[in-house]
């Protein structure tokens, strides 16, 4: 009887999503194809609601669609059924009992305390935290720059050196995720909607206020190059290496040493697998949960605000108080459903869709945008980047570097515990070389291409007078959210691009939030149990609650700064993790016959035909 109820429940939910999707889609399509017919009837706000309903219900539908393997396993409906059967309190009790009390309680207490302070003494709290942020970023700046460079070098060593040959989970483990799935999961989890907003904005900001490393006058042709190179730098290899610096040690200790899947597993070489229950490791996990919730939930709130600000700017939708709340609620519904439905269902499908939309948008932009400018200046910037990346990594003088580069590295390091854990969890059966290649090289190639295309388009239009995005940014008080809209509307197929732009923001937000929900639930659960659906829902709900509090109580920027600050301790931990990993690799893997990629290439030379290429690092997929 229960199976019938469950599948009925799922069918009802799926049916509701599908009919919303088709209904709103039909109206949107009619508006798109026959603007004259309905343009006067439906206002801008309704369009926005319809478009968001269209995206949201479509994502929800693909999340709840069943998977082939679900015939016997329980499904989404069972949680509802349990609620119906037992009391809500006992269910909540079960969920809470499965958590580590410290890791569950501390972040919640900190967030509650923060919002209480923010409500009681807004000015004092903000001032205190901003002072703290400035002090830490200035004091730790050189350290963050150094760790970032160290991570890049270490990743290079793993990629080309013999240790990259180690297969996580043993030589006979096979990867469960095919390479495209693996890449899209890693890529979409590690990056949120920031990439969409900053795509045009980052280069524009640097163009207006060139980085001191390149001594270029603002708004000059030389500043174009400086802006593109710094966009590549801030979103390229150096940034993604932060994830790998935390993720690869976790993956190694989890799959080669049997450590539990948690951030604190990076301490394995110092504490031993059995010593991982110590207060130190619980402190690390608590900090990771705090950083993840702080990073993602505040992004969720802030990006919803900026999203609506951008929309208001572009289409004259009057700003309302209820709008962001509804948007966050809708997004929360989708990402919680996606997280609950599991990796092989919602998370995989939505991340696949994200990558497809991302590629489609970039291609379309390259086709209709100023191709010549983008290609010329893009290749120049790439060459320039290759020459200057090392000195740029070490360049630490001036407040510009603190405001941009150091802040950026802190931000990436604050996301590293969650993204690193997620990368580690997916990597069973892959060689370390493949993990590095995917999480650093392939992902930064994707972001690099994005920033060159979008940033190049923005700069070309700004210089040629096609669109004044900088004027728009200034008009809105320096908000990066509005930069995209004037650009897109000045291009051919502008409506379509804007529509895709909106959908990209939504899917990137969902793909980061669902994986972060999953990882937080794992980190906060007791180490011997897998998080239940209830636990995932709890953490998803908590993230949504934090995002809503940011909107209602204010102080989002400050809270985000607080979360980004956790990047500093995680940068220290990353160094510790890399030292520990080196020790472990030196002790365990020496003399095991691991060959560097150069050695492998040399070994193959006499035996293979001349026209064969050397195998790519990812040999098993």
């Amino acid at each position: 009887m229960s199976t019938v109820d469950i599948s009925d429940g799922r069918k009802t939910v799926a049916g509701a999503f599908l009919s919303t999707f088709v209904g709103s889609g039909a109206v949107v399509l009619v508006g798109f194809f026959f603007p004259a017919l309905v343009g006067g009837v439906i206002g801008g706000q309704t369009w926005l609601v319809l478009a968001l309903l269209f995206f949201g219900s479509g994502l929800g539908y693909i999340a709840v669609l069943p998977h082939d393997s679900d015939g016997t396993t329980e499904s989404t409906g069972s949680a509802l059924l349990a609620v119906r059967r037992g009391s809500v309190r006992s269910l909540l009790g079960d969920v809470v009992a499965a958590h580590d009390p410290a890791i569950l309680g501390l972040p919640i207490a900190v967030f509650a305390g923060y919002f209480a302070l923010q409500l009681a003494f807004p000015a004092t709290t903000t001032a205190a935290i901003n002072g703290l942020t400035d002090g830490i970023l200035r004091g730790m700046g050189p350290m963050l720059l150094g760790v970032s460079l160290l991570s890049v070098l270490y990743c290079g060593a793993l990629l080309f050196g013999p240790w990259g040959d180690i297969k996580l989970g043993g030589e006979d483990a096979t990867p469960a995720y095919t390479y495209p799935t693996y890449f899209s999961l890693v890529f979409t989890a590690g990056i949120a909607a920031g990439i969409v907003f900053w795509g045009p904005a980052e280069a524009l900001f640097h163009y207006q206020q060139p980085p001191p490393y390149f001594d270029a006058p603002a708004g000059s042709s030389a500043a174009v190059n400086a802006a593109l190179v710094y966009s590549l730098f801030h979103w390229g290899v150096s940034a993604w290496a932060a994830y790998a610096a935390i993720g690869i040690p976790i993956a190694y200790f989890v799959f080669q040493r049997g450590a539990p899947l948690r951030v604190s597993s990076i301490l394995t070489p110092f504490l031993g697998v059995d010593g991982l229950a110590s207060p130190w490791s619980r402190l690390v996990d608590t900090l990771a949960v705090f950083a993840t919730i702080g990073g993602i939930a505040t992004s969720l709130g802030l990006i919803s605000q900026q999203f609506l600000a951008g929309v208001a700017f572009q289409w004259d939708v009057p700003p309302s108080d209820i709008g962001p709340v509804l948007l966050v609620g809708g997004l929360a519904t989708v990402f919680v459903l996606s997280a609950v439905s599991g990796l092989h269902r919602g998370i995989r499908r939505i991340s696949g869709l994200t990558v497809v939309l991302f590629g489609l948008f970039a291609l379309l932009l390259l086709t209709v945008g100023p191709r010549g400018f983008v290609v010329d200046r893009g290749t120049d910037a790439l060459g320039s980047y290759a020459v200057h990346v090392l000195p740029m990594s070490l360049f630490s003088s001036g407040s510009w570097v603190t405001e941009w580069t150091v802040w950026n590295w802190a931000w990436w390091f604050s996301w590293a515990p969650f993204a690193g854990t997620f990368i580690a969890a997916l990597s069973r059966g892959r060689r370390i070389r493949t993990v590095v290649f995917t999480s650093v090289v392939a992902t930064s190639a994707a972001t690099g291409a994005w920033f060159l295309i979008f940033g190049g388009t923005a700069l070309s239009l700004q210089r040629g007078g096609g669109a004044d995005a900088l004027g728009a940014i200034t008009e809105r008080g320096g908000s990066e959210a509005v930069a995209g809209f004037p650009l897109l509307s000045s291009l051919p197929l502008g409506e379509l691009l804007a529509f895709l732009f909106l959908s990209l923001i939504v899917v990137f937000m969902v793909t980061s939030a669902d994986t972060s929900t999953l990882v937080t639930a794992i980190l906060a659960s007791r180490r011997e149990v897998a998080p239940s659906r209830g636990s995932i829902v709890l953490w998803g709900g908590f993230q949504a609650a934090v995002a809503l509090s940011v909107l209602l109580a204010g102080g989002g920027e400050t809270l985000q700064a607080l979360a980004v600050l956790t990047g500093a301790p995680f940068a220290v931990l990353a160094v510790l993790a890399l030292i520990g990993l080196s020790l472990a690799l030196y002790r365990e893997e020496r003399g095991r016959g691991h060959a560097s990629i150069v050695r492998q290439a040399l070994d193959r030379l006499p035996t293979i035909q001349a026209h064969h290429d050397v195998d790519p690092p990812d040999r098993e997929s």
Partner: protein, 479 residues
């Protein structure tokens, strides 16, 4: 399904991150096959229609795509193009849903051609259609193997379509040749327009013949063309209506029923009917009489004649021509109905050979008493087969396993066995003989006159007649 389930070392997170053995980017299995392809082509059709309407609703259509100036006639055709494509595509979608090869070929031509339009107008509204086509074409190519049914037009349909084509070619060339003798006819386009308007009996009258020669020519086009047009409509639409009516009322029309002779009537539809039909259908005329409309529809789709009527009703049996039948198989799942069906059959034809299925072993005698010549006890056959297979599992060679031995008798080589050794046939009659009798195979009866005494028809004639009537019947049921 759950990876490494049951292994003691499965760790909590592995159940979350490795729920199934392989997680591909796209579950191609869900998307391969004919159905998603048909759905995509249908979506292309709808989107082409909507896009076309959108173009039509533009007061001033700008043609500023990259190919806009290159392709000739863009300005004239681009307004209607979407809608013009949508209708043939709808037909193609229908054909694809019937797995027609020719529909697949047409789709492969039409769909990529449709992708040209975004490059003509350059309107953003045509971009979604373009992307949909980009997705659809690989599906069409990847699933080409699914669409392999031949069109199978009847000769009448082929003839009428060819003659329409012929008349159009004749009329177009002819009227162009005689253009001096027509009012308002100047070029090939006018000639084609004139012929179509004439054949379709619209006859606007804007182009009219001026001379006797042109009048005679026009008359020939009218007579030939209108005739071919009418016949073609009948030939194309008629079978579809007929088959729809037939599946509602059973496939047999009264005239077809009247032609039945020396056939086998199957009364009732039960568990054994399908496998029985598989065994017998080739080379034997069959009529199934059942009230089960679902089964009737299924059987008539499979090309078997069905009379949707009550098998215990004498009038239905008269319709099914039990009086001229070679044999009657009574095979419903309900023994009471079987008894009534046997009684009814005996009332209609006291001589015909009746083989009945008994679902319960206590009913074997009753069915025999009411007039069945042979009664097959399904359970005892099953039991015996089970026993023989268990006791003698290794027997093979010519005789095969007990299973093959039992079932093989209904095949053609049973004839040889029966002729060679009539005694063993008699002794085996309790078991195997019944099975073969139920088969009522043409060859069986030819080789085994003893068991077929009541069916007095000359066998050679039967087997000669069978293939013809079978083919003609199959031809008629083909929609």
């Amino acid at each position: 399904m759950v990876d490494s389930q049951g292994q003691p070392d499965e760790r909590p997170f592995e159940r979350m991150f490795y729920p199934v053995e392989r997680i591909p980017f796209v579950e191609w299995r869900e998307f391969s096959g004919a159905k998603p392809t048909v759905t995509l082509v249908a979506a292309v059709t709808v989107l082409a229609f909507v896009t076309g309407l959108s173009n039509l609703s533009q007061p001033q259509l700008v043609v500023d795509g990259p190919l806009g100036g290159i392709v000739p006639g863009t300005r004239i055709f681009v307004r209607f193009a979407g809608v013009l494509f949508a209708f043939p595509l709808a037909l193609v979608t229908f054909g694809l849903s019937r797995r027609r090869r020719i529909a697949w070929l047409a789709a492969l031509v039409l769909v990529p051609l449709l992708a040209v339009f975004p490059f003509l107008t350059g309107r953003p509204t045509e971009i979604p259609l373009f992307f949909l086509i980009v997705v659809t074409v690989p599906f069409l190519i990847a699933n080409r193997g699914e669409f392999d049914t031949a069109l199978a037009l009847s000769s009448l349909q082929v003839a009428s379509l060819t003659s329409i084509l012929g008349v159009v070619v004749y009329g177009t060339i002819g009227s162009y040749g005689l253009r001096e003798q027509f009012i308002e006819l100047h070029n090939w386009g006018d000639a084609f327009y004139y012929v179509i308007v004439t054949i379709a009996t619209v006859g606007y009258g804007d182009i009219t013949p001026r001379t006797v020669e042109a009048e005679l020519f026009s008359l020939s086009v009218i007579l030939l063309g209108t005739g071919a047009f009418t016949v073609a409509v009948g030939a194309l639409v008629g079978p579809a209506i007929e088959s729809r009516m037939a599946s509602a009322f059973g496939t047999m029309t009264a005239s077809e029923l009247a032609l039945l002779e020396d056939h086998v009537v199957v009364l009732g539809y039960g568990d054994v009917t399908e496998s029985f039909l598989d065994q017998v259908a080739d080379g034997t005329d069959l009529v199934v009489v059942t009230t089960d409309t679902d089964a009737a529809a299924r059987l008539s789709d499979a090309g078997i004649e069905v009379l949707t009527d009550d098998p215990t009703d004498e009038s239905a049996l008269v319709d099914a021509r039990v009086d001229a039948a070679r044999g009657v198989a009574v095979a419903s799942d309900d023994d009471a109905a079987n008894v009534l069906a046997v009684l009814a059959t005996r009332n209609v034809n006291s001589d015909v050979r009746i083989v009945a299925v008994a679902n319960g072993d206590t009913h074997v005698d009753k069915l025999g008493t009411v007039g069945a010549d042979e009664v097959i006890d399904l359970r005892s056959i099953g039991g015996r087969l089970l026993g023989a297979t268990v006791l003698d599992p290794d027997r093979d060679g010519d005789a095969g396993s007990p299973l093959e031995g039992l079932l093989g008798r209904t095949d053609g080589d049973f004839a040889g066995v029966a002729t060679a050794d009539p005694d063993s046939e008699t002794s085996a009659a309790g078991t195997d003989g019944e099975t073969s009798a139920a088969g009522t195979d043409g060859e069986t009866s030819a080789a085994d006159p003893d068991s077929e005494t009541s069916a007095a028809d000359p066998d050679g004639e039967t087997s000669a007649a069978d293939p013809d009537s079978e083919t003609s019947a199959a031809g008629d049921t083909e929609p």
